[in-house]
């Protein structure tokens, strides 16, 4: 065997490129927790795929990155985030396309019908109401409904926490009023 040639069990492993052992487990834990919290139930089967795809991307990235690069957990998590967003976007496009295929284009007659929304149709009504809001309230309410705390939303929107609370409070009232006007009780 040629000793100068890299071979099995020589050189640097993928894990070594990542950093200490804690990094691999830690990253997986961080990714799993994040995905579990934000993925809706209908995407249950995609959660683990999302995490594992991100982990592979991290390993590949570690292989190609410069040796001098510092691989902090925050850096690796950001790499994972990019991958996860890419996967979610692809998945979203596929799902949206699938739904269009099943439903087919809406007929002109159907689009003229304005039946009151049924109990399960709050989502489109909510979207419609959000889109009619003043942008500052809409953004604050969007973040709030996504689960951001007032402090987090304030950081994102570069506003005082008190101002954000005010926007959320008024925005939620606007939203409910709009939904009620559409015959939807949240």
């Amino acid at each position: 065997m040629d000793a100068s040639r890299p071979g099995p069990k020589s050189g640097t492993s993928d894990a070594a490129r990542l950093g200490p052992a804690a990094n691999v487990e830690q990253l997986q834990r961080i990714l799993r927790n994040a995905v579990a919290r934000v993925c809706p139930r209908d995407l249950d089967s995609e959660r683990e795929d999302l995490v594992q795809t991100a982990m592979v991307r991290i390993l590949e990235h570690a292989r190609s990155a410069e040796a001098s690069e510092i691989r902090s957990t925050s850096y690796l998590v950001k790499v994972a985030f990019h991958t996860m967003v890419d996967v979610m976007r692809r998945s979203n496009r596929r799902r949206a396309a699938g739904i269009e295929e099943i439903e087919g284009p809406r007929s002109a007659l159907a689009s003229q019908v304005t039946a009151p929304p049924a109990h399960g149709e709050i989502a489109p009504a909510l979207r419609d109401c959000l889109s009619g809001m003043v942008s500052s309230r809409r953004h604050a309410v969007m973040l709030y409904l996504q689960g951001f705390t007032a402090r987090e939303a304030a950081r994102v929107l570069h506003l005082e926490e008190k101002a954000i609370r005010n926007l959320i409070f008024r925005g939620i009232h606007d939203l409910r009023r709009c939904l009620l006007a559409k015959g939807v009780t949240p």
Partner: protein
């Protein structure tokens, strides 16, 4: 219709409604994920954040990306402080052989699981290809007797060396063999003692070519009889 107070229950229902609904795909293109990360971090100017949010209201994936970024960043501060590790320091730290073994197994197991999952999506058994070589499991490897558990894969050029990893679906390593000169390996029955009849194992091969090239196979699944 009476509005009544806004209770926690109302907020919960609104959040559920917000998260539900059919997937939305915006007509305009999505921004780089980095911008969303920066927005959640508070380092993107308000005007651009507004544009991102307006886009997210019409795009389910970007909407969810905000949430993923938030969840990841919530967990980061405490974690990140402990693990800023330059790669050279990491190599020194990893020198003890036992620890290196654990890390190798962890990395291999992660790759194995992902490869298996991809295998289920893609047709055929080839999942990852290099420019010149690829490793595939040879036909007839789906079910093997535990006393004749010989795994075979496509060979590289003469002089290629292989490393084989075999794990349970839960990623516990059951066997590993390195510096193999043949494109096949017999897994000892003793290594498979803990595998119940009918259960599957995952396996994966890495190859080092004479010209210095290196390729990793996808993970394959074989049932133990």
């Amino acid at each position: 219709m009476s509005e009544g107070p806004i209770t926690a229950d109302v907020i919960r229902r609104l959040r559920e409604a917000y998260a539900s609904g059919t997937p939305r795909v915006a007509g305009s293109g999505c921004e780089e994920p980095e911008r969303i990360w920066e927005a959640v971090q508070g380092s993107l100017d308000a005007e651009r954040v507004g544009r991102l949010l307006d886009h997210a209201s019409a795009c389910s994936a970007c909407d969810r990306a905000f949430q993923v970024a938030r969840e990841l960043q919530r967990q980061l501060p405490a974690e990140a402080k402990r693990t800023v590790v330059p790669i050279q320091a990491a190599r020194r730290w990893l020198r003890p052989p036992a620890l290196t073994g654990v890390l190798l197994a962890a990395a291999a197991a992660i790759i194995a699981v992902v490869a298996i999952r991809r295998e289920e999506v893609l047709s055929g058994r080839v999942l990852r290809e290099s420019a010149s070589h690829r490793i595939v499991a040879l036909p007839g490897e789906d079910h093997l007797r535990r006393d004749q558990f010989r795994l075979r894969w496509s060979a590289g050029p003469k002089g290629t060396l292989y490393e084989l990893w075999v794990t349970t679906p839960e990623l516990r390593e059951v066997y590993r063999a390195g510096k193999l000169q043949e494109a096949e390996a017999q897994v000892p029955a003793t290594a498979l003692e803990a595998i119940p009849p009918g259960a599957a194992v995952l396996w994966r091969v890495e190859a080092w070519f004479p010209d210095g090239g290196h390729v990793a196979s996808p993970a394959f699944r074989t049932w133990v009889e």
